[in-house]
Subunit: 485 residues, 2 copies
């Protein structure tokens, strides 16, 4: 970090180009976004001193406040560092932070393809909220803390497991703030720092975050072309001796793979034999689209997580863990390190909704089938060089871009008003640059518009010569990319 | 333990106070008894080096033989260890009883004195829920995830800070699942395993849990008889070089101490000078009972946590962090390792309640003043051997039981139908066996009944010969205990 490299105001203004003409609502957000792209693309090299706020403000003809806010945002994201007396320098945040693009917030004007989550089934949610408010009165005289969850909700969730073929009692259910929260709690209760946790590769990004924060090491098992590679899985368990295995057998996130009953039995046998705890994430298990599912695994040795987020609505933060009663109490006791308990009103809403799972998800399945077909068709027309998988359930395609440009695409997409989860978010060490996850969860008109913007973003990426000479050394299949219309 | 913490002769003399004026026949027995209490109460922290025999003898003006005999007695009881060439250190013998009380759940039939949380102000909660349900419709077409929190709520919280004298903008507020969740997230964003985190001793038990789970080491600073011992605080900061300091200056949990404006300024100066991040927990700051509070600290260097749990209701799981916009984004980004975002309906309820803080808490203050007076009076009648502190705000008494029987009392209380948080839950290494926290948050008739049951439980404890010959070797003041009716 001792170079004297710097870029002056006039130079940076040229590099920034037409930064105002973007979809972002505020000038400082637009400026920050463009500057981030320049740093990520290496057009402003790392460890380069950039102009002082006042100098750039004058060169751009904007207020110093705008530049200060943009710099501050980039500092907080790790793209800039400032030191008193020596100015502001470009920097790159630790891997895993940068590739994803920004955290999308509600109402920031971006079309959100970063979250695989559909709008709520409004009439059901509204009715459940009305019911919950009526029942709330009963709980207001209490202090409101209930670490394991309201018995009303634990019973409803247990009944739903029983209906799916796995007899379950309420004391086998721990209420959490979502399936991911249930997994994070299970890690707390089961692991100690340094433990290994086997994951599919690619896998759910926040699972990797939780594993790292537990001080554990994620050990990836790759997929074969048609799904789980059980030979590799067995060998990994033998060699890594993991404490926990985390799997998403139902419409795996992000690949969409679905595990057969025979493979599930084999996995359970392997983990049981090795004394490893198997955590099965059933977040989207109810959202099968093409054929009814196999009966879930309900063995004592297996912990199952689920939630209302995908079958009902992401704005309802209720999930659960299914385990033995003893394990439920053990994992519940770990919660105090993180938060205290789940909100009463949310739990009452979920308790009203879970018994209606079948009617809600059957309507939702029809909606998702249509959305899946429409997105597939639109992508085939507008981005024909992309190769889609065929998920039999769940909420997203896993798309082969034909070239390792996913992170660049995510950045360009943001410039075009689309939030995207780049492939490397789902992997370790920068893998999956050729892939992007595309949810079919937007309303039809928004989805169409998002594809059009993606096509424009992709064109910008492939026309940029720096992307066909990618840093990873993989050459892009330009003939296929050029076919896009 | 390899800390360099030590207490010198002059400081220990101040802590010992009027040790000669006790019932014990010999000077060395009196000195040992007083020193044992200081260790048990955490006022001389564990693993602290105490003065050499000669130094303390000179400082006290007694013979070296007296000090040597006292030290020898404490060594044989396990409260001190000496190592040739490196001095004498405080230590605590293994506890005979588990420190933790039971986990109370709603509706388990126990009168709950383990949680310091009052019933909801029902009409306000109900109105807020109705309002929130009306507004929910606006969010149902979205996916419902908003990692930093709804702008409606962030604005309401910012406005409340501004009204309290600390100008605050919405982008300085991160919405969380409670004040404790905000602290856990701040630890994730700020610390790496092995870092030290300074805490008051005693302190909020779940804060200790969060610190341990972050892989950090809690470093306790004891209180003096009237509040914070700033001399000890400064010395601890200097020696421990902590990454974070966690303080509850407003009606500290559990001691009820209230920090003066001058002491706050001194603490901020110390932490700022040492580059330590100060996290101030304002969970009960709005619940002053005797006199209006000082203006909160609103400096950029200080992170503040708060919640709706105590001012409104514990069943509403909404809290926040106040920090710089950059820090808000940084801490928000850490959330994905734990859970995803806060429920929309809860946030809408909180956004409806927070602007009404003043009217809600003024009614609540009146309720709590009555409850505090009633509990004090009932305890004076039924358990006259207990010594209560005088909290000027907050939700609980910190009660000196007169004997180190808190864990035994918690167990006996559960058998008598009362859930209790034993003193050692609030400390490290088994300290505070003489204390119990008693909230004045139950409805009057329940509170009266709880005291009656506690009196029966205490009688059972003191009549059990195992407790008067306690494992820790501390002799109980049976004459005082016997006064209970």
């Amino acid at each position: 970090m001792t170079t004297d490299r710097r870029v002056n105001g006039a130079h940076l203004v040229r590099l920034l180009g037409d930064w105002r003409n973007g979809p972002l609502p505020t000038a400082h957000a637009g400026l920050a976004s463009r500057l981030r792209l320049l740093i990520l693309d290496g057009r402003v090299p790392l460890h380069t001193r950039i102009p002082a706020e006042r100098e750039l403000a004058e060169a751009l003809g904007v207020s110093r406040t705008t530049v200060a806010a943009a710099y501050e945002r980039l500092r907080s994201d790790g793209f800039l560092v400032s030191r008193r007396g020596s100015g502001t320098w470009t920097h790159l945040p630790p891997a895993g932070v940068s590739a994803a693009g920004p955290v999308a917030t509600l109402g920031d004007g971006l079309l959100d393809l970063a979250h695989a989550a559909a709008p709520a089934p409004e009439e059901y949610l509204h009715a459940a909220a009305e019911t919950a408010v009526t029942q709330l009165a009963r709980f207001l005289p209490t202090h409101g803390y209930d670490p394991l969850g309201l018995v009303e909700l634990r019973s409803a969730v247990a009944d739903r497991y029983t209906a799916r073929g796995v007899p379950t009692t309420p004391d086998q259910i721990l209420v959490t703030g979502g399936a991911h929260h249930a997994f994070a709690l299970a890690l707390r209760a089961l692991t100690t720092p340094g433990d290994r946790v086997v994951v599919e590769h690619p896998t759910y990004p926040n699972a990797l975050e939780a594993i790292r924060w537990a001080g554990c090491r994620p050990v990836p098992v790759p997929f074969g072309p048609d799904g789980w590679d059980l030979e590799m899985f067995d060998a990994t368990i033998r060699h890594a001796n993991p404490r926990v295995v985390y799997l998403v057998p139902d419409f795996q996130n992000p690949t969409g793979f679905y595990m057969s009953a025979a493979d599930r039995a084999a996995v359970v046998e392997t983990t049981t034999r090795s004394g490893t705890t198997l955590v099965v994430d059933e977040t989207v298990a109810e959202l099968w689209l093409d054929r009814p599912p196999v009966t879930p695994v309900g063995l004592d040795a297996v912990l199952t997580t689920g939630s209302t987020s995908k079958a009902f609505w992401g704005g309802l933060r209720v999930g659960w863990l299914r385990a033995t009663p003893a394990m439920v109490r053990r994992v519940g006791a770990a919660r105090a390190s993180m938060d205290l308990s789940s909100p009463i009103l949310e739990q009452l809403m979920a308790a009203a909704l879970v018994p209606r799972t079948l009617e809600v998800v059957s309507a939702r399945r029809a909606w998702l089938r249509d959305a899946r077909a429409r997105l597939r068709s639109r992508l085939a027309t507008r981005l024909p060089s992309w190769t889609l998988n065929s998920p039999a359930g769940g909420l997203a395609f896993w798309v082969d871009l034909g070239a390792p440009v996913s992170s660049s695409l995510a950045i360009a997409a943001e410039q075009h008003g689309v939030a995207l989860a780049a492939g490397p978010r789902f992997g370790l060490d920068g893998a999956f640059e050729r892939y992007v996850r595309l949810p079919y969860t937007l309303e039809p008109s928004s989805a169409d518009e998002a594809v059009d913007r993606l096509a424009a973003a992709f064109l910008a990426v492939v026309e940029d010569p720096r992307n066909t000479r990618s840093a990873s050394g993989v050459e892009m299949d330009v003939s296929r990319a050029a076919r896009l219309t």
